[in-house]
Symmetry: C2
Subunit: 700 residues, 2 copies
């Protein structure tokens, strides 16, 4: 496996009269130090000749094409090796495992006991109670409670009956389905602020929720249906990694943008405007607001809204100031609703133009299978909205699932999770639900309250169902302005300036993606914002692959390690040898750049050498290939070009530590025989120690 090839006097033809550097006797001080470095290097090298082996760079055993293809496919789509437990099992065992894979409840259900039930019962009740609280300081997934969602929807649909139906079902059917199919033990399922608001905003771009109520609802069910289908499809085809393409930065920006959009929409209720734009971008909204300034605003509404908004903000301030009063901001919205409803009921302010919720009916929700659009214009619209809402819902649920799985240290199969979430939404869309997903704040409470399994979801849904059934009728006289205030107060928390600042500090490009998402959402639409963020994120990756970093390496003193001289200013260059590291796979997109960049490094170095006295000219160019994880045919052409250019200048090209894939391809293209197998080394140190004795001294 190992070959000895030290100190051979190869290439005598190229470098005539090869006197070693050691015979240099007219050295300046600087040259002397450097020379000593080399001398020590090559003397240590010589001294150890008998005991030191220079290892050949390994060429990995040639893989079978089919096997290679399968491996790539496996790493791409089955990175988590989902079939591992099926290995070495009998057929009936495999069948049972299969059922358990689709319905994990049959797996954990068998080990379910009273102790676990107790944990789940407590946790379920806690999340249910938590629904009327409003404390969530989590930096990524923000304030969201049934109350907020409920109020948002009231404000949008202005129809208590359908709202009730939706909330009932979205808090009842999906958690139930999830309990059977989901594999996370901690996630709490239900309607979630971000997804709900996103869905609402997009639906309102298409239809008016008041005048076209029936179609609006049908479109919502259609969107929910396709959101579910999207999720199932992604999961089934194991395309779960696509949601990773929504970077953290994009989500921060997107959330902030959504918050601004939502707050702006609330100006309608807050100012008591009757004619309001259907669009969600800031320009249309501000135009609506200004246009209605003269006669469209209702001062009583503004007074109620402003005073309660101040109250809510003050309550939040109190809660932040003193941790003891954490419950103040939590109950403030409820107090506001009760107070304002009572106030309006007493003063009959609705007669003065203060808009109220009205229309409260009770009733059991019907099946909505027939309401889904399976043809026509709305099919496409519903599909588009559903895809976006489904993706966002997934992103949130998977992130939550992963977080808690990491805490309890169990693995979560993202793709299986998606199938569960998707199935839950498909069933939901047929039972008058809209898109449900995992809620961060409720999941956190669930986790803290000691949940053991998904049974807590079942408990919660029952409690919420009953509560809503009895509480909602009380909302009849609630003024819309108070709901607007609550929403504005709530969504302000979605604007995470701290996270954006951190992005700026860590990665400017991430910050740009974040701002792109933010302004895209604010000035145009949710889809455009997402598109911008994703495009910027990818542009970054492509830029990195198009213009990879290169670095000059130097020897870190008293080691045999060669590192970037910019990062390690104490590292010294080796005279006569230029060591360059390429920091990326060499692909068609960067092959020419890499070649020309290396030649430019060489030119710069040669100029420097010319300026200095008694420096040997550059005779060896070592390319450190450790970070070069892959190369393609264009890359190999570039290396060939580099080799040719270097030959013209009498500089020998040497490669250090090419990886298995690169080595394989260099062999296949016979580039290795072009530059000579013995010019490929395991490490830069090996390469340098083989160059040093061959350096030719030249008189300037």
């Amino acid at each position: 496996m190992t070959t000895i090839k030290c100190g051979e006097a190869r290439r005598k033809g190229l470098f005539k009269g090869a006197k070693s550097l050691h015979s240099m006797d007219h050295s300046t001080e600087e040259a002397q130090t450097k020379e000593m470095d080399i001398r020590s290097l090559s003397s240590s090298h010589r001294h150890s000749q008998s005991e030191r082996y220079i290892h050949k760079v390994g060429v990995p055993p040639k893989q079978n094409l089919f096997k290679e293809f399968r491996e790539t496919l496996k790493e791409t789509f089955f990175a988590d090796d989902p079939l591992r437990p099926f290995k070495d099992q009998s057929r009936s065992q495999k069948f049972i495992l299969g059922i358990q894979t689709i319905f994990p409840i049959f797996e954990w259900g068998r080990k379910y006991n009273l102790k676990k039930l107790r944990g789940d019962l407590i946790a379920g009740l806690t999340i249910a109670i938590y629904h009327i609280r409003d404390i969530d300081e989590s930096p990524h997934f923000h304030i969201e409670t049934i109350l907020i969602v409920l109020l948002c929807w009231i404000n949008r649909i202005l129809d208590m009956q359908s709202l009730q139906t939706w909330i009932h079902n979205s808090s009842f059917v999906p958690p139930l389905i999830y309990a059977f199919m989901g594999s996370s033990r901690d996630i709490a399922i239900g309607p979630v602020a971000v997804v709900s608001l996103l869905l609402g905003t997009m639906l309102q771009n298409e239809l008016d929720p008041i005048n076209e109520k029936a179609q609006y609802q049908r479109l919502a069910f259609t969107a929910t249906f396709f959101a579910g289908i999207t999720q199932v499809t992604l999961g089934f085809f194991r395309l779960g990694f696509l949601i990773d393409f929504l970077s953290h930065a994009a989500i921060v920006g997107f959330m902030g943008g959504a918050a601004v959009t939502i707050a702006l929409q609330q100006l309608k209720g807050f100012l008591g405007i009757k004619k309001f734009t259907k669009k969600s971008d800031i320009i249309s909204v501000m135009h609506s607001v200004v246009a209605s300034a003269h006669h469209g605003w209702n001062w009583q509404t503004i007074a109620i809204g402003a005073s309660f908004l101040s109250f809510l903000l003050f309550a939040k301030f109190i809660g932040k100031k003193n941790k003891k009063f954490f419950w103040v901001p939590a109950i403030a919205p409820l107090i506001s609703v009760i107070l304002s409803t009572f106030f309006v009921y007493i003063t009959r302010a609705d007669k003065q133009g203060v808009q109220i919720v009205k229309n409260i009916k009770k009733g059991i929700n019907p099946s909505s299978v027939n309401e889904i659009y399976f043809s026509g214009d709305y099919l496409l619209k519903g599909f588009r909205i559903g895809v976006v809402a489904g993706m966002i819902g997934l992103t949130e649920a998977i992130a939550i699932g992963r977080t808690f799985a990491a805490m309890k240290d169990y693995q979560l199969d993202g793709n299986k999770e998606m199938v569960a979430l998707g199935a839950m939404n498909v069933v939901g869309s047929m039972t008058s639900c809209y898109v449900a997903t995992g809620s961060f704040s409720r999941s956190a409470v669930n986790f803290m309250a000691g949940c053991e399994t998904a049974v807590s979801n079942i408990v919660m849904s029952c409690v919420v169902f009953l509560t809503l059934e009895f509480i909602t009728p009380l909302f009849k006289y609630t003024p819309n302005a108070i709901l607007a205030s609550i929403i504005i107060n709530a969504v302000i928390g979605l604007i995470d300036i701290g996270a954006a600042t951190l992005l700026w500090k860590i990665d400017k490009f991430d910050f740009v993606a974040c701002m792109g998402a933010f302004f895209g959402v604010v000035f145009s639409s949710v889809e455009i914002g997402l598109l911008i963020a994703v495009s910027i994120s990818f542009a970054k990756i492509l830029l990195q692959v198009t213009r990879p970093r290169t670095a000059i390496l130097g020897k870190v003193p008293r080691t045999t390690v060669y590192r970037n001289i910019q990062q390690y200013p104490e590292a010294t260059k080796v005279p006569g040898v230029l060591i360059v590291r390429v920091d990326s796979a060499i692909y068609f997109s960067n092959s020419n750049y890499v070649k020309e960049r290396i030649l430019r490094w060489l030119e710069d170095e040669e100029e420097e050498v010319k300026a200095a006295t008694y420096q040997p000219r550059i005779q060896f160019l070592i390319v450190e290939m450790s970070p070069v994880t892959d190369i393609d045919t264009s890359g190999i052409h570039a290396l060939e070009g580099l080799h040719r250019s270097l030959e013209k200048r009498e500089v020998q090209l040497i490669l250090a530590n090419p990886g298995p894939v690169v080595m394989d391809k260099l062999h296949a293209s016979s580039f290795t025989s072009l530059i000579g197998e013995d010019n490929i080394f395991l490490t830069v140190a090996d390469a340098v120690s083989s160059c040093a004795p061959k350096l030719v001294e030249e008189q300037p």
Copy 2:
């Protein structure tokens, strides 16, 4: 700069009862060897404590944001540092340099002398003569001579007059302009087969060259104009790197596809079909051919075509078989044309339905400024065709320029080159030329004949102009079938099966991109083919960034080097320590995958350890970060998640050799303080030698 931190007993809390591995006395054979490895490691470590420094991983000095931004911009758009010669010059000097930059003729013109003129004169005459030859075995840029182009265009336009105009001008005006503005000394400019045929194919998709001759020509000028504009724009905005996005693989496939498409188009002339499809895809063409089988084919035409095609193929075979007869395939087309023209003239076969060229007029070409569409439908079409043709033309010219510049060892400014090529085409479009670019075979001849400057282009254009003026009138009775035969014979050489095979051997993904381009062009259109190839190429890059390779490292015996154990089977793992290398920048698109992949490596390793006896459990996870060239906020979140998961398992996370950018970001996000500054090492060897004494022995 250096700190000593060997052998400290840090983290006593975490690893209680820290007995070193050395006290293990019940070892099996395998364990013994491994143990010895560690012992030697840590003993050498201990022995060298007094003299050995462990270097801290450097954090690069914090850069000014503006400076950083400028650097990135510079590397992206001004990678070649075009302003370097302007530095430290007086204002008048700068002006002269500026003029010389735009018109390099003023730079080299001043040093022009008789000796150079002689070289250029000979080279210019040689390329002109070469135009009637047909020998080019170059694997990438294939057979193309004025004759072929001429014949192609005859066959397409069927109008000698406009053809003559075009050839005249395309071989006359563009080389002249280029001589003033271009910076390559060796490139020979003129109409080129690939670009001409591409342009012709795309134009024919829009308009019929016979019935809509005037519009067809105008559209061609419009396309040429926009091709020029595209080239100037790309050069001016320094977007030259965009042409790198056409990978070598894509070009091979694209050329092959174009060859098949062109050959299929020739079936019209070859079979004497009168009604032929305007589309270029194989299905439409074959449909046309089959539909006209009963009455549309002309047997006399087929007889002439087939016999001369056999003759041409035989001549090619002779030329390949015996290098002495290289001139046989070179003159065969000319002989065919002369023979067949004479034959048709004698037998008056055109009366039997054999289509001939006809219509020969002489005349001087008019200005075509007014013919370019600057409005209407055709503006857009011309623009689209022009962009594609311009890009392909650029790709070819730049590749040629680079090749010869590398041979004579001078640098070529790709962006400046583009401006020159673009200007030449813009002027060309106004003087009745179509897209011209650099021709590989003619440039090679130019180079071999000893050209010195672009003056050889001027010489060539004059000679070609005169030759065509006197030879073309002889073509009146040439049958179309013979032209079809010549073209079919010529384009067969464009199908480079050897290159495709090499692609398959080196890189399967490149092969897929190549086939994508090929089938895209053959079954749909040129644009679709290009789109497919570019998409596949990018998918490859994204896949590499989404699913980066990871590898387990082991110690290469008798070194302190740690390498992939798959590539170096002799490398041995260090007991109790898992060393993983991540082979890519960690971005949002792969951060979750990287985290979970590392955890999966750990699980696999732990299982293996459990199975073996007397192996210490994994207590340290070293992540080798050398190939991790960048990290973003999602990546840092993933590392934090990894750290948390590892803490649960009582495994210490250690980073080895993070690069400057990564180090900077880890600092900014205070991840370094989370895992502890002293858990970041310069090399894997340092990390291992610091772990070894801290390993805890555990009884199974």
